[in-house]
């Protein structure tokens, strides 16, 4: 077994997923199979390989002395979306989102 039932319960907690007992059993079995499959990566010698940290191709990333198009002018833009954003909230009291009490006084 690559993953135990306790691991699955712990991961669900970390992910804030309130899984049912049946779901925990199912995911335990399925994640185990997937993790077993993923084991195949252990066969590759990666000791001399750098992790890929940037997907954007070199053609799109400026070299030394070139301009940096990703750096734009620091100009103020209007972003007047508070009203439509709050209108989407399950529970809002402008300008706040309301949530269950976090701190007891």
């Amino acid at each position: 077994m690559k993953i135990s039932r306790e691991d699955v319960v712990k991961v669900a907690e970390l992910a804030h997923l309130g899984l049912s007992a049946a779901e925990i059993d199912t995911y335990c079995e399925q994640l185990d199979r997937i993790l077993t499959y993923i084991e195949k990566l252990k066969k590759i010698d990666i000791s001399k390989v750098e992790p890929m940290a940037q997907v954007l191709h070199v053609a799109a990333t400026p070299g030394a002395g070139e301009s940096h198009p990703e750096l734009r002018e620091d100009t103020l833009l209007v972003c007047d979306v508070a009203e439509p954003v709050l209108a989407q909230a399950p529970d809002a009291q402008a300008p706040f989102f309301r949530v269950p009490r976090v701190i007891d006084r």
């Binding site: 992910a15 990566l41 992790p51 989102f97």
Partner: protein, 481 residues
Amino acid sequence: MTPPNPWTVAGVRSALQARQISARELAAEFFTRIQSRNPELNAYLTLSTERAYAQAERIDLAIEKSEALPPLAGVPLAIKDVISTRGLRTTCASKMLKNYVPPYDATAVERLDRAGAIFLGKTNCDEFAMGGSNENSAFGPVRNPVALDCVPGGSSGGSAAAVAARLAVAALGTDTGGSIRQPASFCGVTGLMPTYGRVSRYGLVAFASSLDKIGVFTTNIGDAAAVLSVIAGHDGNDSTSAAVPVPDYGAEAEKSVEGLRIGVPEDYFGPGLDPEVKEKVYAGIALLERLGCRRIALQMPHTDYAIATYYILATAEASSNLARYDGVRYGLRVPGSTLTEMYRNTREGGFGPEVKRRIMLGTYVLSAGYYDAYYLRAQRVRSLITQDFTDAFQKVDAIVTPTAPTPAFRLGEKASDPLEMYLADIYTVTGSLAGVPGISVPCGRNKAGLPVGMQIFAPHFREGTLFRIGRAYQTALDWEG
């Protein structure tokens, strides 16, 4: 009035300019078709009637005044429901966002609007774009218009089905591990995944940020080139969008393919590939050779590790991106007596089984003690897979492979086995990890009448090469019948 059929970008333009049909009539025609076919296909989740007619009116006014028409004037278009549309419900096919209405347009959507397109509506997909069959939608599966008992592929199944059933001239989709190319293959249409960074992701609801790309479905290469010309280019709102000039894709598509070097990697034709698919793709390669392409055998030795790498990285990124659905700012909230209980109830109630599975896997591979063994190792193997492509493109101008190991499978056939479903992404995830552009073009049907797709990869930012090969191929295929 009988409109010419099928509609294309060029066909719409000439019909509008010749005043054979107005943009309004054209939109109405498409809404009529949608009304008649959609109950069966379930390709559209939300129709954009009001905005569509307002857009059509703008075009009709421009025609009336004999003004120059924008590049996609009057083109009826569908948008995958993971891409934000101002004022129009954007659900990601999830209960979590069932009633979510974005306050802004994605950059790609805004550019299409400015280019004169008409938005018909939002298309069904796998929940948060996670899946390869469209069976993971909270609003029910999409059916394949070619064979109703089969899946349309996924995750952009609704977009593929809409174009295949001629319920839109073109459709935006998104591709993270094959979500445009595979459904294009299953439905018999053209599906383009551009280079990572070619099209802004601003307004695309994130699944895996280092892999997500917005692309397009069309019935032919010329239309894909026309749509990409509009949506490609740098955007200050997406720091990963590339400041690489956008070429004239239409002109690129017209170039001859004579002398182009086509790489055929043996690793993509091994066990697990359906014999009829193999035969069709080999026939496609033979046709390209007759058109003057040079066939070169390739080895891409890390292909077999792509699925494992992809499902570590994509789920890791998903677990982080989907942390935002907590019931606080938008979407579903399921109440709880404490904040944590509310988070748990909301996420338990709002996400479907596949999304939960991927969040679980992603959380696990990132968790303390496992990060190096899974995530970091996968990032290193991703470098090797990318190197396979870099090495290949030293020798060839493009790589040709099958898009998927099989044609469309039946609804429910793979639904109970997530790993088997993941394994079917074998030919598409490689290019996704490398960030190169890829396209799926139809290359005939099997004996049962199901479409088969041929995939072409090109080096970064060489979508023009994909169009060039795709167009020559489609033209020759039509010619040879």
